[in-house]
Every structure is written in structure tokens, then in C-alpha cells.
Subunit: 208 residues, 2 copies
């Protein structure tokens, strides 16, 4: 299979779910390592502020951005959109900030593939990218996604959904399954399995 | 159950595995949220440099430390020790830097509970903390751990092992299972299940 350079951009913003970001980053990195030079994912975190800014995630852990939103020019191979929750009434709801939605909408036409993780689906929906598509999100907000976006067919009982160039993942840990599926699409099942073997062998064993 | 403040310290250092760090951080944070104020985990990343330093992980993603190793004084509730791999011959081996080993050895007597993740077990072993204990690590380095540390009984076919105050976890994603077990020990199975439900429901479903 030819060597392909994949420019992966993961959006980060205040209170973004930590594993939504780090799960896919880990999978792409392991694909580079396990692929013996075949896979060439270059993962960058992009945030609202200038490059090098520290962004506090849901878990308090701070991530340093590699680029500002405005710095992401040219063609993007894969855009990963994680989610954030904010307090609302007596619970939590997905945070949907217009500045992030606008950035995603602008970036989409020059992006080969877009994948949301967990409640990041609400950001894609707000950007109109899920209209007419089937999508999923975290089980706790699936009903809200369907209610707010009647043009989206919500499937709450799946790990991830692919609909054309747009992929949506379910609960937090599903980000790993989704990222493995992206690697499989790019470089075949064998490499995805090598990554999974390195990463989640014990979870699979536990399940089995 | 009484409210308990848990001071959790996660070690970070150059090339540390990203998910080894962020998996447990996410679990403790979700325990705070799902526990309705009952769980009070305060997670801090400690690294070799000054507080606020950015540390580049295995995946390239940079994490900002909350403290330097030398700043961690007084009693620690839970110390999490992740692992790092470095190139060696035609493969990779666990990185065991003396300055990290010395820090762990100094911190151990004033720490209630120590848990390694993945190849972090090699750091605990080098600090002598696994002598006479049963332990596990990533499947790819279990043979090496046993060969280098004959006083450690290595069980390569488990998700995590508890031996007194020292816990060791297996492959990368096992860090989540291990952290859930720590939450269960502190606050009961019900809270750990609530966190798992929020976090890994789809992985469990897939396995089942």
C-alpha cells in the first residue's frame, strides 16, 4: 500500500472531554509505530487561542495546542471533533459554542473526512453537517440530538456510524473503536488489529 | 459513606504513554461528577521540571504539569506511575530513568496506594516496590520484567493485580479498568459502575 501522509486535526476547547482527544491521538500514533513507516499520521491539536496555549479539559488536565483554529489552512485529511458538557438545570448538556461551530463549517469543505466523538456530534449537527445523515452520540444525549435536529437520524445503539465523509462515535471510549476504524479504512484491517492488539487486548479478553 | 479527599498524583515525563496518564485522570474526574460530591479526587500531574512545564507524550500531545516532582510533599493518597518505551536494538523497551525511580522510592513511604500502568511496572520494580509481590505489565514486556526482577512474580495474563498497597495494570487500556477498581475500593462498586456506564458502556456491549 502506498505511503500516505495524513494530516489529522483534533479540536480542543475549554472543558473538552480529555479521553475524546487523547484516545484518537494514541491510536494514530500507534498506527505510525506498528505500521513500520507505512502509516504517516501527523496529529495536531487546534484550539481557539494562539498555538501553544494550554487548554483545560474536563478532567482538569491541560493540553497544549499545536495551532490556533485560524492557523488551520489548506487541505485537512481528518478532522476529529470531541465534545464538552456544561451544567444545565439539574444536569449537564453538550456545549455548543458558535465560534467552534463556525470553524467546523468553514473547515468542512476542505476536509476529506470528519469524525465526531461522544457529544461532539452536537457540534457537527449545529454546523449542518449531519443533515440527512444517520449519526450517533453519547447515549445520555441521543434523545436531545434527535429532538434538536429533526433532519438527523439518530442511532443511539451503536459504537460509531459512517455516513459518507462524516463519522460519528458514541460514548467516550468509543473514540478508540472509531479511530481504529479510520486506520482500517486507510491502511487495512491488519494494521488496525495490530494497534488494537497493542492497545486493548485486555479489554477484548475481558469481554470475551 | 463519609466524604474523603483523595490526593492523586500522576507522574508524567518525556515520552510517557498518553492514555496511561489520561485514562485514570478521566476516571477519577467522572467519579467526582457521578458521585454527587461524595468522591473528591484531586488529580495533579507531576513532572521532572518546574510546575507548568509542557511534557511531550508518546503521541506528541503535550501535557502541562501541575507540580514538579520535588514539589510533591506531605502525604499522597494515590500515586499513579505510567510507562514509556524507548527504542532499543530493533524494538522498544521500557524506559527506566534513575531520577524517576529515585523519586518513586522516596515518595512510596508517604503514599497510601501506588499503582503502575502498562510498562510503568518496570519503574516500580526498579524502585524495589514489587519485590516479593505479584505484578503485571504490558504483555509485550512481561518476560523482560520477570527476567530482570526475579523477586517479582509476574502474571502476564490478567488486567490488573493488587498486592497490598501496590497495584499494577496491564496493557494501556487496562489503566481504565484499574482506575475503576480503585474507585470501587474507595467508594464502592456502585459508583465505579456509574463511571463505567458513562465511560465504556459500548465497549462492554461489544464484548458481550
Amino acid at each position: 500500500m502506498p505511503e500516505i501522509n495524513h494530516r489529522v486535526v483534533i479540536a480542543v476547547f475549554p472543558d473538552v472531554d480529555l479521553l475524546d482527544v487523547t484516545g484518537p491521538a494514541e491510536v494514530f500514533t500507534l498506527a505510525n509505530r506498528e505500521g513500520g513507516g507505512r502509516a504517516r499520521y501527523r496529529v495536531r491539536l487546534a484550539g481557539p487561542g494562539p498555538a501553544g496555549e494550554a487548554v483545560a479539559t474536563s478532567a482538569g488536565v491541560r493540553l497544549v495546542t499545536d495551532a490556533g483554529f485560524a492557523d488551520v489552512d489548506g487541505a485537512v485529511d481528518t478532522l476529529i471533533v470531541p465534545g464538552a458538557l456544561e451544567p444545565y438545570a439539574d444536569g449537564l448538556r453538550p456545549r455548543v459554542d458558535p465560534y467552534i461551530v463556525d470553524w467546523i463549517r468553514d473547515l468542512a469543505p476542505r476536509t476529506r473526512r470528519i469524525a465526531s466523538v461522544c457529544v461532539g456530534a452536537h457540534l457537527l449537527a449545529a454546523a449542518g453537517l449531519l443533515d440527512g445523515r444517520t449519526a450517533t452520540t453519547h447515549w445520555s444525549t441521543a434523545g436531545l440530538l434527535a429532538a434538536e435536529h429533526p433532519r438527523v437520524t439518530v442511532d443511539p445503539d451503536t459504537i460509531f456510524v459512517r455516513s459518507g465523509k462524516v463519522w460519528t462515535g458514541a460514548g467516550i471510549s468509543a473514540c478508540i473503536d472509531l479511530a481504529l476504524a479510520l486506520v482500517a479504512e486507510d491502511h487495512g484491517e491488519e494494521l488496525a488489529l495490530a494497534v488494537a492488539r497493542h492497545l486493548v487486548v485486555y479489554l477484548k479478553r475481558q469481554g470475551g
